[in-house]
Amino acid sequence: MSTRTITFTLNGQPVSTEIEPHRNLVELLQRFDLFGARESCGQGLCGCCTVLVDDKAVSGCLYFAPWVDGKTVNTVESLDAEGALSIVQQAFIDCGAFQCGFCTPGFVLMVHQLLKEHPNPSDEDIKHYLAGNLCRCAAYPEIIEAVKVAAKSAVKPAAA
């Protein structure tokens, strides 16, 4: 199958790879040993595969890999690249905002986007931004609390 060469910035590092055009972003990231974005529903409904492309949250399962050519991609792994957790990650821990943890990276990234655009989100803002992230363990009350706790501190931007 024919491949295409793509060049993009991945978690702050310039990278280049050959990729078949039908691969999605989750598969592309796995080639770089990044497993924080996880394909679950495969329909862009659950948010487990959330990735930031040019600072905007996308569903990695519906986003063709070649589309990132020339763009900036940030995954959950970028948040603690220097060893320290982001304020959102710490808030998720402090509030117990997850159980199995499978959907957590997607929620964390989406909350980063939310707080960047709405530093003091209302309950409606929170529900609106997180409507596309599902949690089967249903840690929703704790997640809402975590967003509020994180908002009280200055948020470290996801894309440094």
Binding site: S40, L45, L79, G101, P105, R136
Partner: protein, 755 residues
């Protein structure tokens, strides 16, 4: 130092928020092939032919495998915890839509998927049965012969039975129900139904089988690693130690990932091609693996005017789908609680597990209990209404008190039924005036309580390893899928060994390393494994003290372990290994009367209260308050315990209000998250979650299991509140706006037309 009882974050939090926690989903091995499954499109039929030629010819396809190929490797390729009825790939016939018929192996999963599309099969279609009531008659029989597994002694008599869909019937007789009905002031009967729904863990079923030198390693997202090991070994005719099962973090289970699901297929394929094989299902495929039993529950009570229930007859039909899975156990173990947590002298229970041509049904967060509570608590509410007695008062009059015998004859012990009921009533502010709304928005409130026995008798083994510097490692085969068991055990070990909880590390299940455990299911782990962990830690403590004596340290002082090792071995060297096995006592119910005076090691109690609004023009229901309370014994980690209650209740909200597998000709027509709606963040009502103060005296540090208790009361509390608001009774789940509107319109004498 008090470790147990403090609220601490789970040990693995950092790995989870950074996306670095490892799941089977991520496993990639050198030379690994992906297996994709070709599935039946008919609900019931004999296989005439399977044409795999085009698939085989597709470039990149490594191998195409059918049931006949599996049989060459494994002569009896049938598995299952209660019945060996499920073939790895279909042989001769298919019994439900979505049943695996063939598998394609390729290096590239997309190629394997494409090849699956090129396979075709011809079937001689047979009539199908989907409904549990219809399946009681042998007009359409799903399996030609019943094949119970040897594992459960009480299923042996079913061996070889033909011309039936009943895979287990459980009967209990206590007192004389008929005579009591004749004497009662009123006899009231209702029928309640539940729908087929499913777990949908976000890490869909996945297993990687890796053949090695004298050992087959199975990496799997599974709640029962020890069972998988035994079952895979049995299939191949191997000793257990030739199979190694490893379970990293689990992306949700809820009872879906118990026993064998995709592991046998991955193992068989890997052994056929002698390479690692990964089977990773899609969200859509999960609708064809395991579900929750649809049920029809006919319940009849004789009551006196003073509100005392004199007799209750329960007939429960469990729609088990095409393969038994653990359905027969659900039928019995949940069946005996069908009359509810009430003190009733005359009881009869008839509980039937049935085969139908649907996706198999198994255990889903409550092991059948939520279906039962739905019926008996809706019924109980109707009895109270009929007698004009307040629903809380009516329950207080009838609940099982400490020491009284439950239907089986087992005396209630450490079961905080009254306390849970009181907690729900108190949190609901039940005695305060309640505004029932006006115009098109009417308000109502309802409560419900339920109870559950534990799975018994089951065994757990734990190993505690104290290293020479005092750092400690715990080996168990409990699968922590977010319920916080790792952290709870670490707290227990730290408590016994008088150390900081952060000094304890937990090894994830790996059957080469971690000892036997029956499984992480039925809220059994905290009690069973918790007891084993406590005993193993105590064993280590005893051995440490002996080592101190050996080292010549004076008795009566608590030396830090590091000091003992150094004194004894002259340097940082050695280990102390503590180990223990826990298995509670148990008496199997009598095969004729269904009675036993020791039917469970502990009881779980859960209750819910709901306030809601009904829009009388649309039937839409809006929950404005949800109160959960449960008897958790003495919680080990109360913060985490509360999230278990909350998560379970929200999951049950989905099963109550929206989740429903729709069938057309046996085909699921809403097999995706787009069409099968689970609760999202916008669906969460204001909630409180209360851990009722209690103690389980036989539990570790007074604790008991709680993963399911939050599901018990939710569904009937909602139906009871709807009745309270608008005077209509919904008897079938899910409670959609349409169902409520239909009931409202029927009550007004202007029913909506059928679809």
């Amino acid at each position: 130092m008090n470790q147990v009882g403090q609220s601490i974050p789970r040990l693995e939090v950092r790995a989870k928020v950074t996306g670095r926690a490892s799941y089977t989903h991520h496993v990639q091995l050198p030379g690994m092939l992906y297996g994709k499954v070709f599935r039946s499109t008919v609900p019931h039929g004999r296989i005439r032919s399977v044409d795999v030629e085009a698939a085989r010819a597709l470039p990149g396809v490594f191998r195409v495998v059918t049931g006949a190929d599996i049989k060459k490797l494994i002569p009896e390729p049938y598995y299952g915890p209660a019945f060996h009825d499920q073939p790895i790939l279909a042989i001769d016939k298919v019994c439900h839509v979505g049943e695996p018929v063939a598998a394609v192996l390729a290096r590239d999963p997309h190629v394997a998927e494409q090849a699956v599309q090129l396979i075709s099969a011809e079937y001689e279609e047979l009539p199908a049965v989907y409904d549990e009531v219809a399946a009681m008659q042998p007009d359409i029989v799903v399996h030609d012969m019943l094949k119970p597994a040897g594992t459960f002694a009480d299923l042996k008599h079913l061996k070889g039975r033909t011309n039936t869909n009943i895979s287990l019937d459980y009967h209990l007789k206590r007192g004389d129900t008929e005579a009591a009905f004749a004497r009662a002031d009123k006899v009231i009967e209702h029928t309640f139904k539940t729908q087929q729904c499913l777990h949908l863990p976000f890490e869909p079923f996945v297993a990687v089988a890796e053949p090695g030198d004298g050992v087959l390693t199975v990496h799997t997202s599974n709640q029962t690693p020890s069972f998988v090991r035994t079952e895979i070994a049995r299939l191949f005719g191997w000793p257990e130690n030739k199979v190694r099962v490893k379970v990293p973090h689990l992306g949700g289970g809820f009872g879906a990932k118990v026993y064998v699901k995709v592991e046998a297929l991955a193992a068989a394929l890997a052994m056929l091609v002698r390479r690692p094989v990964k089977i990773a299902l899609t969200m859509e495929e999960q609708f064809y693996v395991i579900t929750k039993h649809p049920t029809t529950f006919r319940i009849k009570s004789g009551v006196n005017k003073d509100g005392k229930v004199m007799a209750r007859a329960c007939e429960v039909l469990w729609n088990g789908g095409a393969y038994a899975d653990i359905g027969p156990r659900v039928t019995q173990k949940s069946g005996f609680t069908a009359p509810g947590p009430y003190d009733i002298e005359n009881i009869s229970i008839d509980s039937y597990a049935l085969y139908t041509n649907r996706t198999p049904a198994g255990a889903l967060r409550g092991f059948g209990i939520p279906q039962l509570v739905w019926a008996y608590e809706s019924h109980t509410d109707l009895l109270a209404r009929e007698l004009g007695i307040d629903p809380v008062e009516f329950r207080r009059k009838n609940i099982l008190r400490e020491g009284r015998e439950q239907a089986t004859g087992t005396a209630m012990k450490d079961a905080a039924i009254a306390e849970v009921l009181d907690a729900v009533a108190k949190d609901m502010n039940w005695n305060a005036p309640f505004d029932r709304g006006s115009g098109t928005v009417r308000r109502g409130r309802g409560i419900a309580i339920g109870f559950k026995a534990s799975i018994s008798p089951t065994t757990s083994v734990a190993i505690v390893n104290v290293a020479a510097d005092g750092s400690t490692t715990l080996y168990t085969s409990t699968v922590d899928m977010g319920q916080g068991s790792d952290t709870a055990y670490a707290l227990m070990v730290a408590e016994v060994l008088d150390m900081d909880v952060q000094n304890v590390r937990i090894v994830h299940p790996d059957t080469d390393v971690t000892p036997y455990d029956m499984g992480t299911l039925g809220s059994r782990s905290l009690f069973h494994m918790g007891n084993a962990v406590r005993l193993a830690a105590e064993d280590a403590r005893t051995k440490l003290r002996a080592l101190a004596t050996e080292a010549g340290l004076p008795e009566g002082t608590n030396y830090p372990p590091a000091e003992i090792f150094k004194k004894r071995y002259g340097m940082q060297a050695g280990n102390v290994i503590g180990t223990a096995t826990y298995v509670p006592t148990y008496k199997s119910p009598d095969s004729k009367t269904g009675l036993s005076d020791n039917v469970t090691p502990f009881w779980m109690i859960g209750g819910a209260g709901v306030e809601l609004e009904v829009d009388t023009e649309t039937g839409a229901v809006r929950i404005t308050r949800l109160v959960n309370a449960a008897d958790c014994g003495k919680p080990i980690n109360p913060g985490v315990a509360r999230t278990q209650l909350s998560g379970a209740a929200i999951m049950q909200l989905g099963f109550t209000l929206s989740e429903d597998m729709k069938l057309d000709g046996g085909q699921v027509t809403n097999a995706s998250l787009a069409d099968y709606r689970i609760p999202g963040i916008a669906d969460i009502p204001p909630m409180t979650n209360e851990l009722v103060e209690a103690e389980q005296h036989s539990g570790p540090f007074g604790a008991k299991g709680l993963g399911e208790s939050g599901t018990f009361g939710v569904s009937p509390a909602i139906a009871n509140a709807i009745d309270d608001a608008v005077g209509v009774r919904i008897t079938e789940l899910p409670i959609t706006a349409e169902a409520v509107l239909r009931a409202l319109r029927a009550k007004q004498g202007r029913p909506l037309e059928d679809e």
